[in-house]
């Protein structure tokens, strides 16, 4: 009889626990919803994929062919670690998503590696394309 009662009490507690978690998740207001519409996502553009591969492989020659001088300068600035030091050892360049509007495509990448001081670093950069050509970087 005592065991049955203990099991019943435990079941009530566990049931309440689960209910509490469910209520918290349903009422959690820490995240605001996006009040603006979102643009459609598009596939990774071939040109920006080539740039990402060149960065990952340390292929300066290909990079120089794909990107003009001004954009290369901006790309160098974009690839600074949050500490303001260049990322010297690039371990991965991951495409995260792209969107398009009126012929312009923004393709986002996340680059991770180590900066010149040996600290783990992660940066995001976005390639701006028009008519398949890279016209800017952020």
């Amino acid at each position: 009889m005592n065991e049955a009662r203990a099991a019943f009490v435990l079941a009530l507690f566990v049931g309440g626990l689960v209910s509490g978690v469910v209520v918290q998740r349903l009422t959690d207001s820490s995240g605001r919803s996006n009040p603006y519409p979102s643009l459609d996502r598009v596939d990774e553009p071939a040109t920006s994929a080539q740039v990402a591969t060149a960065i990952l492989n340390g292929d300066a020659k290909t990079l120089a062919q794909l990107v003009d001088n001004e954009t290369l300068t901006n790309l160098r600035d974009a690839l600074m670690s949050p500490m303001g030091t260049p990322i010297a050892d690039i371990r991965s360049v991951k495409f995260v998503g792209a969107t398009s509007k009126a012929g312009r495509v923004l393709a986002g990448y996340i680059l991770s590696g180590k900066d010149t001081q040996g600290t783990d670093a992660i940066v995001g950069f976005v390639l701006d394309l028009e008519n398949g050509q890279i016209v800017g970087v952020n």
Partner: protein
């Protein structure tokens, strides 16, 4: 007996709610699992930025001095006169340790009627936006 049953359920709800809220805060602040989806802080920051809510923007940044806060408020007022947000698109993100980077595409209409599409990359550390570009 009924009182005890009611009490156990109530204690369970309180404990479950508290544990869930605590876990949510820790996971969010540490940036765990940020690579799998859009962190709430990043979206909150972007929405506050586009809606020119200087106080909410400041709340999501590391503590700043009063002059920096005033400059941010001025920038928000000026952008209000300059552009109207049309769309906000989350492109994706990634994390390394406590650092996380989230990328957005923003479309605005300027006062002269032209539409512009640009990107913003947010760097988050411990649930705060420590850098934007």
């Amino acid at each position: 007996m009924i009182r005890m049953a009611f009490g156990m359920v109530l204690v369970g709800i309180v404990v479950g709610y508290t544990l869930s809220a605590f876990a949510t805060t820790i996971i969010s602040d540490q940036g765990w699992f940020a690579a799998s989806g859009e962190p709430a802080q990043a979206r909150n920051y972007m929405v506050a930025l586009l809606q020119r809510e200087a106080e909410n923007v400041n709340a999501l940044r590391p503590q700043q001095d009063i002059v920096s806060q005033a400059l941010a408020a001025q920038a928000a007022q000026q952008s209000q006169q300059q552009a109207k947000p049309l769309s906000l698109t989350y492109l994706g993100g990634g994390s390394s340790g406590r650092l996380s980077v989230q990328i957005y595409a923003v479309e605005v209409r300027a006062n002269d009627g032209t539409q512009q599409l640009f990107s913003l990359a947010l760097t988050l550390l411990g649930g705060k936006v420590v850098g934007t570009r």
